[in-house]
């Protein structure tokens, strides 16, 4: 009897559970799973949205490997990602470490450090066009001041990608706050113990901070790579891929194929290629991190 009642309550709870998460399930089917399947199907078709779609077999995928711009855009994106993400994380961690002290005006500094991250990309674009302007910009004025040669910044293929890396460092509030959250979760007893054992600041950082923070580092690294791989707005607004395709990043190329040339099938194939590459890097990071990431009091359930 009791069992029966329990199971009825259980069933009611389960039904409510599904109802509560229903919005997400519907959203998942409509905006994630459905489109992903559709995207696979589309990548085997040819469709300009005007005429009917036609079956294209694997031709989109064979074209992929002959398209020089696919390779160029992937190279640009990888270059950008693998230089900007480590620098961003190092800077964000440094800023979080500065904030994670018993200091005055802590919340004011935190707010100021975060400000660039709420700057809309369009406003940021106006700003960076001025800063990096070779004739009148702030960046070259500073270089002149210290006697270094001036640079063409966004307007030269050799400095255009480094310019984007520089810009990415201005706006790392999110990883910073996440690092800060991680740092605040480290029990101070660990630092006290290390200090009693005679560990200096650097040794405490190496032996306590880094291991305790490793899950957060992995989280920021994974999301950072995924985010950087999808760089779009800045490149679209500032350089539109130029000069000489040096800032043609993958998503910018995808945008052109899909929404300027309306090659929906081919664009889907490119989207899947980018997706698989990002997935590969994500899995690699988890794999490499497996033995290096320390999870405190691992509890499952």
């Amino acid at each position: 009897m009791i069992n029966l009642r329990m199971s009825r309550m259980r069933r009611k709870e389960a039904i409510d559970g599904y109802l509560f998460i229903a919005p997400w399930i519907i959203g998942f089917v409509l905006w994630v799973a459905g489109p992903m399947i559709a995207s696979i199907v589309l990548s085997f078709m040819q469709w300009d949205l005007l005429s009917d779609p036609t079956w294209a077999g694997v031709s989109n995928f064979t074209n992929l490997f002959q398209d020089r711009l696919v390779l160029v855009s992937l190279w640009n994106t990888a270059y950008y990602t693998f230089l900007s993400v480590p620098l961003e994380l190092a800077a964000a961690l440094g800023m979080a470490l500065l904030l994670n002290q018993r200091i005055r005006f802590q919340s004011l500094f935190r707010t100021l450090f975060y400000i660039p991250s709420v700057m809309p990309a369009v406003a940021g674009a106006v700003l960076w066009l001025w800063i990096l302007n070779p004739e009148v910009g702030l960046a070259n004025s500073l270089l002149r001041l210290v006697g270094l040669p001036e640079l063409q910044w966004l307007w030269s293929p050799t400095t255009s990608k480094p310019s984007f890396i520089l810009m990415s460092l201005w706006g790392i509030g999110n990883p910073m706050v996440i690092f800060l959250a991680g740092l605040q979760g480290i029990p101070s007893a660990l630092y006290d113990a290390a200090e009693i054992d005679g560990a200096n600041a650097w040794q405490r950082f190496r032996a306590v901070t880094i291991p305790m923070l490793s899950p957060v580092i992995l989280f920021n690294l994974v999301l950072g790579v995924i985010g950087s791989f999808q760089i779009f707005t800045g490149a679209y607004l500032l350089t539109n891929g130029g000069p000489a395709h040096s800032t043609l990043f993958s998503v910018l190329y995808l945008y052109r194929l899909g929404f300027e040339q309306f090659r929906m099938g081919y664009a889907s194939a490119v989207a899947w290629l980018i997706f698989v590459i990002i997935l590969f890097f994500t899995i690699t990071q988890f794999y490499l991190a497996k033995s290096r990431v320390h999870y405190e009091g691992e509890v499952t359930g």
């Binding site: 998942f28 459905g34 707010t111 975060y114 709420v118 990309a121 707005t233």
Partner: protein
């Protein structure tokens, strides 16, 4: 924060006096040198963060001739409020401001309601497949959005939703974003279930417990995700670019693109126009930064 409390409140008992004594103990000179250096670095970072903002505001009020003056002019003289009139004359900025406000408002409502609802399901109710579904939800956080962009465009096109606000405001009502759900769930987990149990004994349904008990208690995290979605939707460029075409439907972020022209020297006008986008998001951030940042910090990130 706690240092202030300690020094401001009068020492009431022996323990406090001892603590105070410990804190005012002479520190080695190295400590003060390190601290001074630390403040110096922090001030430099703050300046790097703020200077561009200050420069944009100042430029938006400058005369054409002062924009590229060297050395730079920081306080505009005369103050050209007419730059704003000029910006308004060049583009329907107020219309775009209204569009952006409508879209952002609806998206926030959708995100906050559905993510708190879904989070309740994951935090409080047991059902078969819950852990799997939650893992699936977390893994969508790592899904690059671009892979679904083209099919979503085609879907909205076939629904006749292109060039309306629907592609931008309907999705938040279905799911509310995996990171938001995750944050609210983490917050719910910190609230003891005693309250739920008491209400349940009194005959409250799960809907009542969610809406009347947990949602009001989780105001800080709901405000945090509200601000997250404000910043995201207010600043979003890619989605309006793909889904909105006509001049009257544009958002500010999208419309402002017309003001980005390296060949046009009237930067003061571009800056004035940018202010319509920039000022609200900065104000909202300053008002809510406590929730915004602490929503992440306090909730913690442990699964």
């Amino acid at each position: 924060m706690s240092t202030d409390e300690l020094t401001l409140s009068p020492p009431l008992d022996q323990e406090a006096i001892q603590l105070l004594g410990r804190r005012t103990r002479r520190r080695p000179a190295g400590f003060y040198i390190r601290r001074t250096f630390q403040y110096l670095v922090m001030v430099v970072i703050s300046v790097i963060s703020m200077i561009p903002l200050v420069w944009m505001v100042s430029t938006s009020l400058k005369e054409q001739g002062q924009v590229f003056a060297y050395p730079p002019v920081w306080i505009p003289d005369p103050v050209m409020w007419s730059n704003y009139a000029e910006a308004l004359a060049r583009a329907p900025l107020l219309r775009w401001l209204m569009n952006t406000s409508i879209i952002t408002f609806l998206a926030i409502v959708g995100n906050v309601i559905t993510s708190s609802m879904v989070a309740y399901g994951f935090a409080r109710l047991r059902f078969p497949g819950r852990n799997f579904l939650f893992m699936l939800l977390l893994s969508t956080m790592m899904l690059p959005q671009i892979v679904t962009l083209i099919p979503r465009f085609i879907l909205f096109k076939s629904l006749g939703w292109l060039d309306t606000f629907l592609p931008l405001v309907v999705p938040p009502f279905f799911g509310g974003g995996p990171f938001n759900i995750f944050l609210v769930r983490q917050f719910y987990l910190t609230i003891p279930t005693d309250l739920d149990d008491a209400a349940r004994i009194d005959g409250a349904s799960n809907w009542a417990i969610w809406w009347l008990i947990l949602a009001p208690l989780s105001k800080p995290v709901l405000i945090a995700i509200g601000i997250f979605s404000f910043v995201y939707h207010w600043n979003d460029f890619l989605h309006p670019l793909i889904f909105l075409f006509s001049e009257d439907m544009k958002t500010l972020a999208l419309g402002l693109r017309a003001f980005i022209d390296p060949l046009d020297a009237s930067w003061q006008i571009s800056m004035a126009a940018s202010m319509f986008l920039l000022v609200p998001v900065i104000i909202i951030f300053f008002l809510g930064q406590r929730y915004f940042i602490e929503g992440v910090t306090v909730t913690g990130l442990k699964g």
